[in-house]
Symmetry: D2
Subunit: 310 residues, 4 copies
């Protein structure tokens, strides 16, 4: 057994011992019903080796982790023109804050706060039906994960749609500033469905490989995106991927990462690994509590921090 | 001539051709009088090689770059207890904003906004006279740069003190919340003097080596700080080092960096290089316009981005 | 001809001479098309005398002036319990600001900012169809104005509905905090229709008499509301009736007043007069420019300011 | 005994029965030590009659009530030019908030928030020594109250100066925007001393007569200020006199009023009365809890509300 295989197993066992696991999201029943004791972990390394532990094949709602894939899709559609409609700065406020939008005239701070992800969804909609845009995103994710079984959890999508008043507010607010091109309900349709994509840790880590390999799924394979774009997405994940706790995640873990309210985190060690972790309990900033801790220990043990080794 | 020597020379020549150099800071005469055509660059690599170009030995006011050294000093004094008095998150607002302090009860967002640097100065003051604390910092910087000639520009310090009403406001505001331990004017004395440290690009890059080498000035040398602390300071530089343009700097350059209103930027490529660049013209966010561009080209040419290579 | 009749005529003539009339609202075509030269004025005094001038019988969209009548209706339904869902303080921000809602957990600052008026509309909806609630309000206004011809301008209501994204945002935002009881689109239906009530200056001044007479349409008539409630509505008009220019209106005019984006202002001199003025051009705060000036001159000439006579 | 004499006595007795008296200000010892059971009341009516009850001759620190007199003094010096440096709108934030100053470039919202009062003090300083400006204000207050014994409580002034970090922050912050003409410490000297003026309810009500009589101390007497200016000061008291509870005070009491953290309120019934009440316990908005309640009962019993009678 390799050191990494042992590490994956060991960290998973450490997490099982911890009682304070944070609080599961309760705003929709499909999330509220998740067992807080679930924990999954998968590391794919640069050589293609896959290390897993715990509930690594259990699908969960990836929620905001989908923003990474949707951003990649939108950059493919309109390139750097995206940055005319959304910023690239940490927000300094909560993930669903509307305050910043008023101050900055309907331009969201970055593509990973909800407002920014709505602009990205609006770009991806591109005049089509919502189901076309979401189908395209799903094919993209399946391709990158090399797994055709990835699907949308319709119960989650429906529940999001029924209770997502705050997102409806954000969308209409930006529409008032002219920063959505489609009717808000259509853009919201895309957004609610992308959040409801269900994936396992194994699928998520596999789907994240292109960010480890500078835009290729595998070394020597075809480029999905340019190395510069891959770096830039990593940079955005590091500065903005954990909402108003992004600084803390960079401080503790030192890797680009994107969290979702379902308890998942996708982290990238450029050139070295793609890591997916899932633990449904959230800390006070809305990020997976044990997921963050597990990544902190993995980064410490491996020396994968982008900020230097020992 | 090595590739890197050629690159340093080439980038410096490219910068000389650019007419839009931003605007020199005008809030104090000693800064306002600086010739905007000055440009210096120095790269120290892991093997100790030093590459310089332009006005690389011309001293300038390091201003907020001093916050990196002062933070290192404060962490040495009280360790992680510092984080009870200052946060680790990007601010989402301008470097001298006071709004966030009101919302968050006198706790600055991070040690690199002015308010946070004042708390750091208050820690470093530690009950002594301001001149003691500033003397200690100066010795620390001289030691790391291996250069005993580094000094404080008293004219700059005096000018800061005479016009720094906004910093006086920040200090008194935090004092009202109990987050300064000393009389505000003493803490401000330390702060205004640390901003007035004068260094050349060569001195600054040399002083930054400990962040490239995980806390050692040279490989194999004694540890000034632990590798973990070096990584964490790098993380803070990346997420918060360029005020409300930190996300953009990470996106474009991909290196931990700290800018100063005098036109300097210190950037770290962990394990690879410490880079100092100086160009007095600032962009709209208050960061050196050509300094940022030069670093962007260096990072692109060298592949030193922490977010992955090609 | 009485002094007051002469004053009404004289002020109207003065206004006709003024070239800088402000800018007509352009967010919906039915408002954008209004001739900025229109001007109407009507004063009803305590003795029942009616003085008119200009386009005093031309109906216009009363817009936010309707918030006074809707508030009266809501207080009739649930009394002081309304203040659990909406505040009574000036906002310090623009009429359609959403910032304050985030800071204060979905509780609008007062019933005259848009968010507060949406809560009031939600109270008036009371589980019925929107058309029932709006029908009830219309009957109430007709009764107070003693004019059965008052109607809703359906073209305005439709246009509001098609472009009112910011109000949709406000409604959904409050729904997310649980401060709307009905589906947002139903509450918005009531709100958009009440804004589209069309009235002339004569009708509006007549409808405002109950606030001059302590809750009675005429002295000695039946009470619509208690004197205390009439006073309190007047107080709210004075402190909050002109959005973020309420202080200035109190300073210059010295009367409780409520403005609408259609260019109308209803002002009350308690015990003395109800005044309606209409001039479609708005100042930078969104209040009728000449309407405010006309009221300033009337208040000065009559000594009706609530803040003292000469 | 007149009805009003009975009312004054009766309200005072009612207040003595109330146990929840709010919390005495504790930020300086001289205020913290005041007995919360103290209560004073004085009404001076238009005919010159004086009605008192309770601790009506006990001097207390008038604190922010001094802002009314200082504003009158500043308007006398520079007239309407004052409004270039301070606004006339309710703030929507706490009395000592600094947030608004950042958003509005160092221009305080109104002369009754602390920042606005500092600008007023800066106007009154007018290039002289602080003791000259404060001496002038004191003579003005003595003249209006017709009482040469009114003095400054030096212990209070000293305590304010020692702990007033937040006011120091406000002053320096505005200085940074160029909205103070003098060195901040001199302007603060004036401000801290004016807050420390000690007056009894009787003295305070007497000093407020000029706002009841349109600018004259007595009917037929010489004009101190024009009727228009008296009205405008009353308007500002009504819209801004109770910080972020001004709307509520207008709603409940219906009179222009100015409160101070020492527990005093000066209220004006234009043409009818000047009222001073003192009860040191404050409500959550920093206004005298029983003082507000007493005024509410007096306004209800007398029908003096500016918003209409029964």
């Amino acid at each position: 057994m390799t050191d990494l295989a042992l590490l994956v197993r060991s960290v998973t066992e450490q997490m099982a011992q911890i009682e304070d696991r944070g609080a599961v999201a309760t705003y929709i029943p499909p999330l509220a019903e998740i067992d807080p004791l679930r924990f999954g972990l998968c590391i794919v390394t640069a050589d293609g080796a896959v290390h897993t532990a715990g509930d690594c094949d259990e699908p969960f709602s990836i929620q905001s982790v989908s923003k990474v894939f949707a951003l990649t899709q939108a950059l493919g559609k309109i390139g750097e023109a995206l940055w005319l409609r959304v910023g690239r700065e940490p927000s300094g406020t909560a993930f669903n804050s509307i305050v910043q939008l008023e101050r900055e005239q309907g331009i969201p701070r970055n593509p990973f706060v909800n407002a920014g992800a709505l602009v990205v969804a609006d770009v991806n909609l591109a005049g089509h039906e919502p189901r076309v845009a979401i189908g395209e995103l799903l094919r993209f994710v399946r391709h990158m994960a090399d797994d055709e079984t990835i699907a949308i959890d319709e119960a989650v999508a429906r529940a999001e749609q029924e209770t997502g008043f705050r997102n409806v507010a954000l969308a209409n607010y930006m529409k008032a500033f002219g920063n959505l091109k489609h009717p808000p309900e259509r853009t919201l349709g895309v957004y609610f469905h992308q959040c409801a994509i269900a994936m396992s840790c194994r699928q998520l880590a596999m789907a994240g490989r292109y960010l480890m390999h500078g835009g290729r799924i595998e070394p020597g394979g075809p480029r999905l995106i340019s190395p510069q774009r891959a770096r830039r997405i990593n940079a955005l994940m590091l500065t903005c991927g954990h909402y108003d706790a992004s600084g803390d995640f960079a401080f503790r873990v030192g890797l680009p990462g994107k969290s979702g309210v379902g308890g998942a985190i996708l982290a990238i060690a450029p050139g070295k690994a793609a890591i997916a972790v899932w633990s449904p309990g959230l800390n006070e900033n809305g990020n997976s509590q044990l997921g963050t801790l597990a990544l902190e220990r993995i980064a410490e043990a491996t020396g994968w921090s982008v900020f230097g080794a020992d």
